[in-house]
């Protein structure tokens, strides 16, 4: 067992974990962040995507011990002061989810994408989401939602200036 301290959604968590434990299992089973889900065992689906120090990672592809001393943000830590993150709002407004299983990972990846590229083209959005599978939506509305969120996130930044 190894002792780790991870800041998860703004709360410092210190736990004993098996060295082989994956970050996604640490989040779900130890911290109770069941908003982050597992969709595959080959790092293909992206359902488990979270932010590690602000950048997206597939949490099934990271060991819990590798997150020791780092910040993890999950879908549950994305909204602030009871307000949805613009990406969450855009997914709702554009009907970018059906069953919702891919949604937490998709939103976390989309936030990362727009942070890196505030004004993405449709092509750039599609390529940026390539590692996140959705079986329900056919991606059409997800692409629309990400474009809409990019717009509202950049106007927010302008207003903040």
């Amino acid at each position: 067992m190894t002792r780790i301290t991870v800041n998860v959604d703004g709360v410092s968590c210190t736990d004993e974990v098996e060295p082989r434990m994956l970050l996604v299992h640490y989040l779900r089973e130890v911290v109770g962040k069941v908003g982050t889900v597992v969709g595959c065992d080959t790092s293909n689906c992206g359902a488990c995507t979270v932010h590690l120090d602000g950048r997206s990672v597939k949490s099934c592809n990271v060991l819990a011990v590798q997150a020791d001393g780092h910040d993890v943000t999950t879908i549950e830590g994305l909204s602030s002061n009871g307000e949805l993150h613009p990406m969450q709002a855009a997914f709702h407004e554009n009907h970018a989810l059906q069953c919702g299983y891919c949604t937490p990972g998709m939103i976390m990846q989309a936030v990362d994408l727009v942070t890196e590229n505030p004004n993405p083209s449709e092509e750039e959005i599609r390529v940026g989401l390539e590692g996140n599978l959705c079986r329900c939506t056919g991606y059409h509305n997800i692409v629309k939602a990400v474009a809409a969120a990019a717009g509202s996130m950049s106007s927010e930044r302008t207003e903040a200036r």
Binding site: V38, C99, H140
Partner: protein, 826 residues
């Protein structure tokens, strides 16, 4: 407490944002795998790596010795209580079906079957211990190929004595719905056109994103089973019918379910094994599959060889169609199982007027994963076949493929139309949908571009694919199901509870898993009862809350379940009316009901429905002989199916040097009757399209010669990604269905059914001038390239009528211009 009036004039038709989104976008969703119960035990399955084997011994000692392991159980340990995975639809009374035991006792019929289960303190320990279970297998010869299965040279289940499960036929002459197919074929062979083709419907994996999970708590008054299933009511029935647990002792809950597409329309071995272990140990148990387990053990879809003979006159008027299907059921007949291909029986004739028709379907067992419903179930296979054939006929006659469809389809003034397969199509307008689609697509411009590219010898050729489809939805009139030997009904139920403080609970027997029922059902009830959308709560997916239901599949929820809801709402109004009359001191006949209020005609006196609900709850003052309640239940059994249709147009670019294909444009105009929520409808269409496109271009379950599923993970089973797909143009025409009062037709499967042939037609159209008239799905670059190579670049190899090969009895595809038919071991 009366209704507020800031709602849209009608909820039906408005693009309400979904109620269910909030928890899904914030990570507070209730997936089965999220459930943690005190003292819960975790399970891992030991699965057979062999396709066909006898289990000669299982040594569990080492596994049991691992710290944290609670028990290791084998098939014989739970034999008395494990029950059976049932088949609800023996398509004939003499259908052969091996018993499908959740856990193998001695005979393994496909790789992935469960041979032992480990219960441990954690999932990780359970998995470690599962590796330590030592199973002795005596390997048996396996039959993997469908056509080999038909020869009975090797048997999937030696005890059955044959691989053949059943044969089912529909014949228009025998049924009195049309002429003699053999006559039509003979006439066409003499002086008309005969198109003979063999198409392959490859095996697909439904690939819902949430792996299946089951939690069982056996410790309460009722045994509670949570499962990521589409069919909680059918699971409860299956348990009661086969495990010895009384139905009244079983509660099944489908919490939030992460997609299904037919793949969770099943009673699964995993559910039954988890239940048996929980009962044996007397402790709550959880089992969640890995993706790799899901790929090999959850049922697959499609998997047919289709032998087709289309007879026509020289001008392209179709006179008959003969369909001969060979269908691979895999190792067992599933819940719908052998009935899935039979659902295509009424759809091969599609929107066309054929004089004669015959559908033949033979189902076989092989030592591969079982096959059952996958989005569209039987109807995509039928639509693919006929829409490919119509293109072939057009090429033969030498006219535009849309022309050949116009010549043969049912015109708008011919409805209701009695089809050659014996269905009555109640409404539709194929001309209108097609006109709209052609305009949105820019059909003529794209045809002109295609011509330019042909003439200039552009290495990138353009193809246009058409699919004018229909499907039958709203499964199903119970009497029809009875006549087909199906084991259950097709009704749906709904209840409405008018709560005292002005809100409304709606209970539905349909069980959503991403479709947005909570939103759409709220819209229907809000309109009908005149209550605010926000004040309606929709409850479902728990046999204790919604005791009666037939669940969600076959585009049935809205068409059948929505109508049950309408009827329950109307009963609420009927029950409230005499109470309103009493409270308003007026005669019943003097009352009108609108926008949630009863008013006395010609006066301003009135009372709201929700006020009546409060009044009747106190029960202080109501007429003698009435019951103090306005709550109501309804069960609706449809009298007919509904028949959505649409025109789908696809433009594909094909690089003739590399075989690479690129989708350029996709337009669809669907007629799904009345639309309750356009936002939800668009979403269903988009998702459906990509699943159908996935079959055309990328997806396929492949086995090696040992019977190992080689496309057993998301690395090898290539699902469409955002980068592979494009944005679609979707639109609608509306001719309301007459089979339900809302006029809805169902939309869940439309996109999947229509898109596959549209894409393949487009690819074939792009290279037809090279002498190619078929490419087997999935049309990967490799297959397209091979087809181009083997066509030898001849520019004028289009087959002529008298040079067409004809089927010899039992011979494989003789179409000389067909593309590659590799895919051994499928």
């Amino acid at each position: 407490m009366t209704a507020v009036d800031d709602r849209p004039t009608t909820e039906i038709g408005s693009a309400r944002l979904r109620k269910e989104d909030q928890r899904l976008i914030t990570g507070r969703t209730k997936w089965t795998d999220n459930i943690q119960l005190p003292g819960m035990v975790h399970l891992a399955m030991v699965r057979s790596p062999f396709a066909h084997a006898r289990v000669s011994g299982i040594d569990t000692a080492e596994a049991k010795a691992l710290p944290g392991v609670i028990a290791v159980l084998t098939g014989s340990d739970i034999a008395d209580i494990q029950g059976l995975n049932i088949t609800a639809w023996p398509i004939t009374t003499d259908q052969k079906a091996p018993d499908h035991l959740p856990m193998v006792v001695d005979h393994v019929a496909c790789a992935g079957e469960i041979v032992a289960v480990v219960a441990a303190r954690s999932a990780a320990v359970a998995r470690d211990a599962a590796e330590l279970v030592d199973v002795d297998y005596e390997e048996l010869p396996a039959v993997l190929d469908l056509k080999e299965a038909a020869t009975d040279a090797v048997l999937a289940h030696p005890s059955l004595g044959t691989n053949k499960s059943a044969f089912w036929q529909l014949d228009s002459k025998a049924g009195g719905t049309g002429g003699d197919i053999e006559e039509a074929i003979a006439t066409a062979r003499e002086g008309g056109i005969l198109i003979e083709r063999e198409y392959r419907q490859q095996r697909l994996i439904p690939s819902f994103m949430e792996p299946r999970s089951t939690v069982v708590d056996p410790t309460g008054d009722q045994v509670v089973l949570w499962s990521s299933t589409q069919v909680p009511h059918l699971v409860r029935f299956g348990i009661a019918a086969t495990t010895g647990l009384p139905e009244s002792k079983i509660r099944v809950i489908a919490p939030d379910v992460g997609g299904g597409f037919g793949g969770k329309l099943q009673t699964t071995p995993e559910e039954f094994v988890t239940l048996a272990v929980a009962r044996t140990l007397g402790k709550p148990c959880k089992y969640t599959e890995t993706r790799s387990e899901s790929m090999v053990s959850a049922h697959h879809g499609r998997d047919q060889w289709q032998k087709l003979t289309l007879a026509a006159e020289k001008d392209g008027t179709v006179t008959g169609l003969k369909v001969e299907l060979m269908c691979d059921l895999g190792a067992y007949a599933g819940l719908v199982g052998g009935g899935v291909p039979v659902l295509g029986a009424w759809m091969f004739n599609s929107i066309y007027k054929f004089g004669a028709y015959q559908f033949n379907c033979t189902n076989y067992y092989t030592n591969k994963t079982w096959v059952d419903a996958y989005r569209g179930a039987g109807r995509p296979e039928a639509t693919y076949a006929i829409e490919r054939l119509m293109d072939e006929l057009a090429a033969e006659v030498g006219v535009d493929p849309m022309e050949i469809r116009r010549k043969n389809w049912i015109t708008h003034d011919e409805f209701p139309f009695a089809s050659v397969a014996g269905m009555t199509y109640d409404s539709g307008d194929y001309e209108a949908a097609t006109e709209k689609a052609l305009g949105l697509f820019g059909y003529d411009e794209l045809r002109a571009e295609q011509q330019r590219r042909r003439e200039s010898g552009d290495p990138v050729q353009l193809g246009i694919g058409i699919s004018t489809f229909t499907e039958m939805c709203g499964l199903a009139p119970s009497r029809v199901l009875g006549s087909l030997n199906y084991g259950a009904g097709g009704w749906e139920s709904a209840s409405i509870r008018m709560l005292t403080t002005g809100t409304v609970e709606v209970i539905t027997g349909a069980s959503a898993h991403g479709q947005g029922h909570e939103t759409a059902w709220s819209q229907i009830v809000a309109d009908r009862l005149g209550v605010p959308f926000e004040n309606v709560e929709v409850l479902h997916g728990d046999t204790q809350i919604a005791p009666k239901g037939m669940d969600t599949y076959g585009s049935r929820s809205l068409v059948v379940g929505g109508e049950a809801l309408v009827r329950a709402a109307d009963k609420v109004i009927e029950k409230a009316k005499p109470l309103a009359a009493h409270m308003l001191e007026a005669g019943v006949d003097d009352l009108e009901f609108a926008a949630g209020r009863f008013t006395v005609k010609g006066t301003d006196k009135g009372i709201g429905l929700t006020d009546i609900a409060l009044g009747i709850w106190t029960g202080h003052d109501y007429p003698e002989g009435l019951e103090p309640s306005i709550d109501a239940d309804a069960t609706f059994d449809p009298v007919n199916f509904s028949f959505p249709h649409g025109t789908h147009l696809c433009a594909m670019e094909v690089d003739t040097e590399t075989g690479a294909t690129t989708m350029r444009k996709y337009v669809c105009v669907d007629d799904i009757g009345t639309i309750i929520n356009p936002l939800i409808v668009e979403g269903q269409v988009h998702g459906g399209l990509v699943q159908g496109i996935g079959q055309a271009l990328w997806e396929g379950a492949e086995y090696d010669e040992q019977g190992t599923l080689v496309s057993g993970s998301f690395v090898d089973y290539t699902l469409p990604t955002a980068a592979d797909t494009i944005s679609f143009v979707t639109d609608h025409t509306t001719s309301p269905s007459t089979s339900n009062s809302l006029g809805t037709k169902g939309v869940g499967e439309a996109g999947t059914i229509a898109s596959t042939p549209a894409v393949v037609n487009a690819i074939v159209d792009a290279v037809r001038h090279l002498g190619i008239d078929d490419i087997q799905m999935p049309c990967t670059p490799e297959r397209v390239w091979k087809a181009i190579q083997s066509a030898g670049g001849t520019t004028d190899a289009a087959p002529v009528a008298d040079a067409q090969a004809h089927f010899d009895e039992g011979a494989p595809n003789q179409d000389p211009a067909a593309g590659t038919t590799d895919g051994a071991g499928q």
